[in-house]
């Protein structure tokens, strides 16, 4: 069978056409069309390209605004929707820098904002910055009974500086910061009825939470290239703190008002301080017939905590005042090692053997003291140890049988041991027994890549595995994964299709768990003319699973029930986008996205679960955009995107659908 590989010209042309179209971009903003010359302008010894988009966006939301904010969250206002700047030295010998690359998204007040910056001077330094802001909104969807609301902002920044990036000895420095702040509404379960343990008369109360977490990480490392070996060393100091506070003032009757218990005042402080110093060493040697990579890491995670909680409320027994104090520490040392050996006995055969070892120990004590100033006190220390050790070996083979046929196969073996001790004492010695278990998993892989025609590629893959002692009923036990992929690519047309199927059967004495996932997808990109591109894709994601469940149900004396839980998710997702260029000045872009779960989880051995087994919904988003080049360095853009989320199940009679019109108008300009 003949074989003529795809030419780079064809490949690159196709890629560039698609890249320019940016077809699968879901949100209508920012506008992908850039202002100014893509080649940039020369200024002294540098070439500069830049394009900035500034505009106003709006959102009109009807229905569940909370769900909209959780899903989409775009609001009103003026934004720097996007920014792109690159400055390149034309001879690679700039005085202070040879390259600056700056990209921004959503600056101003968008819920998702990011800035990336690279500044580089050949041979001397390379600096990378990634700054991001994420406005997170959780409206307390029914999974949490509508009570766990969060309206927080997460700021993340990563700085990385490499000194002497082209030399045999390089130095790396880095700093990362991750903060989360904002109000939240949490819940607390309290026992204000005079008993230490909450029974059916327990009650849960909403409490305000002031989320304040912060992580700071410092990195220092080096790469040493010597005698054919490359040694990488890294040390990281990571510190985390949580100073979130909880409080409630006012009389709350809680989630179970029939108890007659009210919470009148609540305050909790729970400061946590964690440190996770980390060491990494990696040694690599790559040759013509042999490549070896060895790595060892050690993480010494530690955490110290203190909790002080005061609650005051009313009970049928009278006013109660309860105080809880907890203090202690936790540690999680983790040691890992990897050794990968690649052998290339012939030009068409590659053998890779990889061995990995991981040992994680988690332990800590928690000194718990509860004072009920009216009745009882409790004071005890808990101890928990969880040890994990995994040893894995993977042997993979890749063989190029013909120019049009490659095969691969593999055998992966892993063994995991888990040890557990749980104990508590009234300030006495611990005597908890240790529980041990081990799980062995063996997996075989087989696959092929076939290229029968110049423009056609077919990939086939399969995996089958068995684990003899999985940790949970939903873990892999007897599983099979099958997949195939087809691609046909010529200059003006790309066709693709893929299929994946996963089975897992985890049978046990009490119940059984099985899952069956099937994913089908197809996509096509057609560019018949330079001025027209059409992109379409469709995916069907199907999952059905069967779980054995045991629970109690009943009003006065709940009785045990056992049965099966069936969950069927039958998702159809489609995307259609068209782009037109009119007279080389006007870009028109129209798209439509739909995600539809048809559900169909009817029928169950446990009737109580029937209402929560099928969740048909519909999520659609059409969009349209126009971008007009007014001048060489100025474009005007406008766009509209509609979101329609519609649930058909209404958990607890609460429907959280919405529809929203969002849009923007902007100008894209270059210096």
């Amino acid at each position: 069978m003949g074989f003529t590989p795809i030419t780079p010209k064809t490949l690159l042309t196709g890629c560039l056409l698609l890249a320019h179209a940016a077809l699968a971009q879901q949100p209508v903003t920012p506008t992908p069309d850039q202002a100014g010359s893509p080649r940039g302008e020369n200024t002294a010894d540098y070439n500069v390209t830049d394009s900035f988009e500034t505009g106003y966006r709006f959102a009109i939301v009807n229905g569940s605004v909370g769900t909209y904010r959780s899903d989409v969250n775009y609001g009103d206002g003026i934004r720097l929707l996007s920014g792109n700047l690159s400055v390149n030295s034309r001879d690679g010998h700039g005085r202070w820098f040879d390259q600056i690359v700056l990209t921004t998204i959503g600056l101003g007040n968008d819920p998702y904002q990011s800035v990336t910056l690279r500044v580089e001077k050949n041979k001397l330094y390379r600096y990378d910055l990634l700054w991001r802001l994420d406005d997170y909104f959780n409206p307390g969807l029914p999974v949490a009974g509508g009570l766990h609301l969060m309206d927080t902002s997460r700021h993340m920044q990563d700085h990385n500086l490499t000194l002497l990036p082209q030399s045999k000895i390089q130095f790396h420095m880095g700093y990362s910061r991750n903060t989360q702040d904002g109000p939240a509404l949490s819940t607390v379960q309290l026992c204000l009825n005079g008993s230490l343990y909450c029974g059916t008369a327990g009650n849960e109360f909403p409490v305000f939470e002031n989320v304040r977490t912060q992580q700071n990480e410092f990195r220092l490392g080096a790469d040493v290239d010597l005698a054919g070996f490359k040694l990488t060393l890294l040390h990281t100091w990571s510190f985390f703190k949580d100073d979130s506070g909880y409080q409630e003032n006012g009389v709350e009757s809680g989630d179970n008002p029939s108890t007659g218990v009210t919470l009148n005042q609540f305050q909790r402080s729970a400061p946590y301080r964690g440190a996770s110093p980390y060491w990494l060493g990696n040694l690599n040697r790559s040759g013509k017939t042999l490549a070896v990579n060895g790595r060892i890491t050690y993480l010494d995670g530690k955490g110290n905590f203190l909790l002080n909680e005061n609650a005051f409320g009313g009970t049928p027994l009278g006013a109660q005042n309860q105080q809880v104090q907890v203090g202690g520490d936790a540690s999680r040392p983790q040691l890992t090692g990897d050794l990968s050996i690649s052998v290339f006995p012939t030009s068409s055969l590659t053998l890779v053997n990889n061995t990995s070892v991981d040992s994680t120990r988690i332990d800590g004590t928690s000194d718990y003291a509860q004072f009920n100033l009216a009745a009882e006190t409790a004071d005890f220390v808990s101890f928990r140890y969880l040890g994990l050790r995994t040893v894995a070996n993977a042997m993979d083979l890749h063989y190029r049988a013909k120019r049009w046929l490659s095969l691969y196969g593999g055998y992966h073996y892993s063994e995991r041991r888990i040890e557990d001790i749980e104990d508590y004492a009234i300030h006495g010695p611990f005597s908890g027994a240790m529980y041990q278990q081990s799980n062995t998993q063996q997996t075989g892989l087989l696959g092929a890549r076939i290229k029968p025609l110049k423009a056609m590629t077919i990939n086939l893959e399969s995996e089958a595995g068995h684990a003899n002692h999985p940790f949970t009923p939903v873990s892999d036990r007897n599983y099979i994964a099958l997949g195939g992929r087809f691609e046909y690519r010529v200059k003006k047309l790309t066709l693709g299709a893929a299929y994946k199927e996963n089975y897992n059967n985890n049978s046990v004495t009490l119940s059984s768990y099985s899952s069956h996932a099937r994913n089908y997808s197809a996509n096509a990109v057609w560019t018949p003319r330079d001025w027209f591109t059409l992109d379409a894709s469709y995916s069907k994601l199907h999952l059905d699973s069967l779980s054995g469940v045991v629970f109690f149900a009943g009003v006065d004396a709940p009785s045990p029930l056992a049965g099966n839980q069936i969950y069927i998710s039958n998702i159809h997702a489609a995307n259609l986008v068209a782009r037109f260029v009119v007279s080389k000045r006007v870009d028109l872009y129209a798209g439509y996205t739909i995600t539809m779960d048809t559900g169909d989880g009817s029928g169950s051995a446990a009737p109580i679960l029937a209402p929560v087994q099928t969740f048909p919904l519909n999520y659609q988003s059409p969009l349209a955009r126009v971008s007009i080049r007014l001048r060489e360095k100025l474009r005007w853009n406008a766009g509209w995107q509609y979101y329609n989320y519609h649930e058909q199940f209404g958990l607890e009679s609460f429907y959280q659908g919405y529809h929203a019109n969002t849009g923007y108008t902007s100008v894209t300009w270059a210096f």
């Binding site: 690159l12 699968a24 009974g145 907890v326 969880l386 149900a553 995600t595």
Partner: protein, 287 residues
């Protein structure tokens, strides 16, 4: 290869002016700018091989020692790894699922005409990955998702397309090339630092099986990217007391008889068990 078979990039640009015109923006230009690299590691011939025969023949692909359009996947990989093999991020490239499936460097990188700001990607990163992973593209279009299509995140925040080390969770099975956060933990913890701990009371499946036991990381039709729409159905999958599972081998504890599942209060598990990822104060994750 004899040194006199190398002509230097200056000769190449005579005919390939279109490639040379913007080549100073290419990271590979550093090898030319440095002026101290041997001929086989610099400029055009660093990748394509000595050009003397090509020049003497006045062109033609077959006279280029390494014409990528004529090379098979492994040859492409070997050529790029001549310089990049020892990058730490590529320590597992030979065993990555991409390499096994013959998805090699030029499938994702466009060396001469990259439209991306960094890494010479053939497209914007998400578009590039969506090209093959259409099912993942569909997941990122779902109502609840990580903001990859919005440009806020990138696939490489969580994945290493060049291959990753074996994960420390699950059974160390790393087919999806999931990158690890520093500290050999799940990449989720890079951003969700509050879930990192260590906690005095870890929810064991989080450490043993990983976040994916409860969450679908790309996107979901369920709030909080959960694998089930209703939280108690999620919890009941494991908390059924089935023998042989859990840390004590005698089943993951089923709910006590105080939990009347007909009562919506008890269907909202995290209403009480608020610290479900891990707690320092309570083994039942109450506070």
């Amino acid at each position: 290869m004899a040194a006199d078979n190398y002509t230097g990039s200056a000769v190449c640009k005579t005919c390939h002016a279109d490639v040379w015109f913007n080549f100073y923006k290419n990271p590979h230009y550093k090898s030319i700018a440095s002026g101290d690299q041997p001929p086989d590691r610099t400029g055009c011939e660093g990748c394509h091989g000595p050009g003397k025969a090509h020049v003497e023949a006045r062109g033609g692909k077959t006279t280029i020692p390494r014409a990528f359009s004529l090379m098979g996947p492994k040859e492409v990989l070997d050529t790029c790894l001549n310089c990049h093999a020892r990058d730490f991020s590529k320590g597992n490239i030979r065993r990555s699922q991409h390499s096994l499936a013959d998805v090699v460097c030029t499938n994702c990188h466009s060396i001469h005409k990259s439209p991306a700001a960094k890494f010479l990607l053939a497209k914007k990163q998400a578009e590039l990955c969506y090209g093959c992973h259409a099912d993942v593209r569909a997941q990122f279009s779902m109502p609840f998702k990580h903001r990859v299509s919005e440009g806020f995140m990138a696939c490489t925040d969580c994945h290493n397309p060049h291959g990753s080390f074996a994960p420390t969770w699950g059974m160390a099975d790393g087919q999806s090339m999931v990158e690890r956060a520093e500290g050999d933990q799940e990449p989720c913890l890079k951003c969700h630092a509050d879930k990192r701990g260590p906690f005095a009371y870890e929810h064991p499946p989080v450490r043993v099986e990983g976040c994916g036991v409860c969450h679908m990381p790309h996107g979901s039709t369920n709030a909080k990217l959960l694998v089930r729409p209703v939280v108690f159905t999620l919890c009941l999958r494991c908390h059924n007391g089935a023998d042989g599972f859990g840390t004590r081998n005698n089943g993951i504890p089923k709910l006590t008889n105080t939990h009347n599942m007909l009562d919506p209060r008890y269907q909202r598990c995290t209403l009480c068990h608020v610290r479900i990822h891990g707690s320092n104060s309570d083994g039942y994750f109450f506070r």
